[in-house]
Subunit: 204 residues, 3 copies
């Protein structure tokens, strides 16, 4: 990974960790619970991906920076909670960049162990989405993503566009394009109040 | 796997996926949630088995047909929901065949990586049962199977009979016998209103 | 592992299984549910650790004694439930020894596959704690450990003291010291009514 991608990855990890910590605090978990929730949110998606595609040990074990970023999330929430909540909209953009990158890293990694592009797209979405699913399961909530499309659809489109564009274009360019796609789809989704385009409901 | 077993396996996957999708629709999940629930129900048991016994990547990654079957479950539920609910009893027989096959495939696979028959029986049950457990956890329900024995016991008996009969008999015959055992035990269980034979309750 | 450690490990497994079975019985699960809950509580932590650090198959598959211990937990609870509940305080000490040992075995195992001490400490805590987390998720409860620190902090201190003392001291001595640390911290925590030392709450 080039320097800049690493830093975006770190940023995404931190933003995810903060989102987990915030929910733990809201639910009045103790420090340990808050920490686990931050952890699971930040690295859960990549961990499930690594387990499924057979990478071992899971990747965050070989770079402790991920752990430290998650620890840092706790004092950040402690001191800046109100600011974070107030600036939610600005955080949102970093969040989306992080999500886009997580998706694309997931696709790349899956392709790199020799699996098919269809599986890679699926694992890209899993990487970006399942941290949040685990967080909600542990907090004993129905996963948010099941009820209200937030970013899964954007990840899906981004993952597909990466698989296609990386085939034709310069690698870093296709990363840039695909992350942009994730951001644009997500912004559009919010602006146009897309619910998922087709709600599954039986015809009467 | 011989041709016919593959088709039974596909059928089982589809039936499991439909059961997951139905629950997602009942809970008013959006398309994405419904899809994940279908997925997890259909391939969750085999995935947990593969992770535990150390097969990697998990097996459905090497045959995309499983994915397509799960996608197909969505339009099937969309268009035929009422029919499915009405025909529940007929679906039931396919369901049980699928369960029986999942059990036996799980036993075989576990034996094939050199683990013991006891572990193999256990993993057979896990293959057949844990998709439903994951489905219920994600839907924020207490797993159905914990409350009301539906097929776990049938799987257990089927798995044991497969381990024994495969030792003495022609392979395909023992598969046929074991699936029959699963079906018979399950039908008996329902007909005779077996709750699990011994309810755990301390003597007064 | 030396003889005595194996027996402590077995004892810890049994105590954990009993705790899972007890909760299953309280929740009126049927036999199968009770069994799964016993299982998951007893071997869940070690299983997650093995999956994450890449040991395969997971370790309990190569020693069926663990399975039998879990099966034994069921008649034990059936016949001695009231006694167990009454003697809870005495059970507690075995429980804590088991936890301490689980922690240290987790640390050792993680170091033995070449991962760093920081990861090893983390995996030590995971080994001891995540069985209970899985148990609570399956029973559709918010994991107890998120709300009320019970032993996670003790495990953390024990894991750290093991990593340090094992570097300087005779192996078995450092095991003894570290388990003692877990017990002492836990007893102190209860006696002094420690909640976790710093509750995460934003300053007003």
């Amino acid at each position: 990974m080039s320097e800049i991608l690493i830093y975006i990855d770190y940023l995404g990890t931190l933003v995810f960790a903060i989102s987990g910590v915030l929910i733990g605090v809201e639910k009045k978990f103790d420090l340990f619970g808050v920490l686990i929730l931050g952890f699971v949110t930040a690295i859960g998606g990549g961990t499930i991906r690594d387990l499924l595609i057979g990478v071992r040990p899971v990747s965050w074990m070989e770079n402790e920076n991920y752990l430290y970023l998650i620890f840092i999330a706790i004092p950040i929430v402690y001191f800046f909670k109100n600011t974070i909540v107030k600036w939610r909209k600005s955080v949102f953009i970093f969040d989306t960049i992080g999500i886009g990158l997580f998706t694309i890293l997931g696709v790349q990694k899956t392709l790199s162990v020799g699996l098919s592009p269809v599986i890679a797209v699926l694992m890209g979405v899993v990487s970006a989405v399942f941290g949040g699913v685990l967080r909600d399961v542990l907090a004993n909530e129905i996963p948010l993503i099941f009820r209200k499309e937030i970013y899964a659809f954007a990840c899906l489109i981004g993952a597909i566009s990466f698989v296609i564009s990386d085939y034709f274009l310069w690698h870093n360019l296709s990363i840039f394009i695909s992350i942009s796609v994730v951001i644009i789809v997500r912004l559009l989704a919010i602006r146009l109040k897309w619910e998922l385009p087709f709600n599954v409901r039986s015809p009467k």
